[in-house]
Symmetry: D2
């Protein structure tokens, strides 16, 4: 078996998110938005800490790499029809973006499902912008918006588990 | 292998829902609420038809029977501590209610995840009442509220798939 | 929100498993059987340590409590028809036992899926006995056999992640 | 919303499988192998019919297209490190291949989980060959072997549901 250095992959994943216009702080803001009504004293720093911890999980890193890579390859024209059109139009019956998101959310158990759905539906925080940009010109953020929502929801679950 | 008559089980499941205060029409109203912004001409009759179809699926029926049975047994005092307190308080880190709900939502694929989370978070339609009643006295609706939301979300997915 | 003491629940869950005829060592033996071909130096002590760790997860404890409780209530006659017959016959199209098992397996990610399926199909170790006993007289082990297989598979995933 | 013609996508998916060395008959043979002990009169024709039906499901088609596309792009060198090495080595802790497979298996409910795990572990039928070829030279069948196993398992579930 080859050795994969997940500390290095973590760095790479964070860079990949930033290249696509998303910082961990952007994700932490979404987590804060969904959890602040339950915890009066919750701060953005604490949320950021939980988001950073979610990104220590290999399952999460593998999903981030895979999803964003597909988005990029779709933009670069390396993906053939009909999958190309499905991806670049963020076709609502595609569903594989939700499948990948689910594998992130589930890292802290099923209690994250509700938050993920809510975040995704309301396009909280930076998700609205990522989603809108994904529909401009040649852009593709089909996986990215769900990945952001899933990380934010997983961080929310982590808060619930540790408080 | 024993023969299980699922037509009969379907009837029983609908009756069980009604005994717990929920009609298929109540569920259809939730589906309409989440889908009407996407389909101008969507009617409550069409939503009801989709909800009725969701209840033809064995996976759904098995989940409805199991979840509501646990709620009832918790009320009747047949479940021992500590599970009793977890169930009757609808403990937010329990998660098995979401696990069961997910098995309903997923019947029409991962695209239902978002609607389920949104419905559950917003406590749409009758869910608010079911949830509130579940916290009164000896009542337990820990599974029921998620089951309703999951059926409504599955029906929404079915609409998306057939339109 | 009520406070649930999961250290206490863990003790209770282990006792519940033992009352149903299953020790953590029985589960560790299954983990050893599926993993020994990949790791020459794997010992039963190491497997037992991983099994013990799987049982620190709340998601796992909630599932163990819920599944075994349903088995017991079915035996005690507290569950009405038609669910009673579905449970006591371990009806192959029921599926809720697999749904619960999946929530255990998934605690260490999707890589556990394969081991779970293999363990369950081959009825490895004590599972064969548990399954057989579950079909005798009034017994019901519908959830228990899947729970054992799921914990063993999760422990196998944990080994893969930590080695 | 764009219109996606899933009849056309189905044709394309079958062609894609064939280009990667897999016919529907190859998959049907796996289904027959796992189900023949339960149904004496089960024929390869009936299994083939069920496999063909599994491929009518959009969730399945989307997964087939996505998974095989990633395999091909990895072979063509369009995927950057470190994901490239993870994919071309079929890294055992990657897990996204199992995540996608699960979305196929689950189309006929959770009862398919066991068969999928068993098929995958035993590398039944053509899977052994696909897996072996995937490790030769520049080849990548990381997603393909799980996709085949998942379709075969879903067809097995479909048989169980319809008999």
């Amino acid at each position: 078996m080859i050795k994969i250095d997940y500390a290095q992959i973590r760095e790479y994943a964070v860079k990949l998110l930033e290249q696509r216009g998303v910082t961990l702080l952007d994700i932490a803001k979404i987590t804060l938005e969904v959890q602040k009504k339950y915890y009066d004293d919750l701060t953005i720093e604490e949320c950021l800490d939980h988001v950073a911890n979610v990104l220590n999980k290999r399952e999460v890193l593998n999903t981030v790499l895979t999803g964003i890579t597909i988005d990029i390859l779709a933009e670069q024209g390396h993906i053939e029809e009909p999958l190309k059109s499905i991806l670049t139009s963020d076709y609502s019956l595609y569903g594989i973006d939700e499948v990948l998101a689910y594998s992130i959310v589930n890292v802290y158990g099923s209690i994250g499902l509700t938050n993920f759905g809510y975040i995704d539906k309301m396009k909280l925080g930076i998700i609205e912008e990522i989603d809108r940009k994904g529909h401009e010109g040649n852009n593709c953020n089909t996986f990215l918006d769900d990945i952001i929502g899933a990380i934010a929801a997983a961080a929310a679950s982590r808060i619930a588990h540790t408080r």
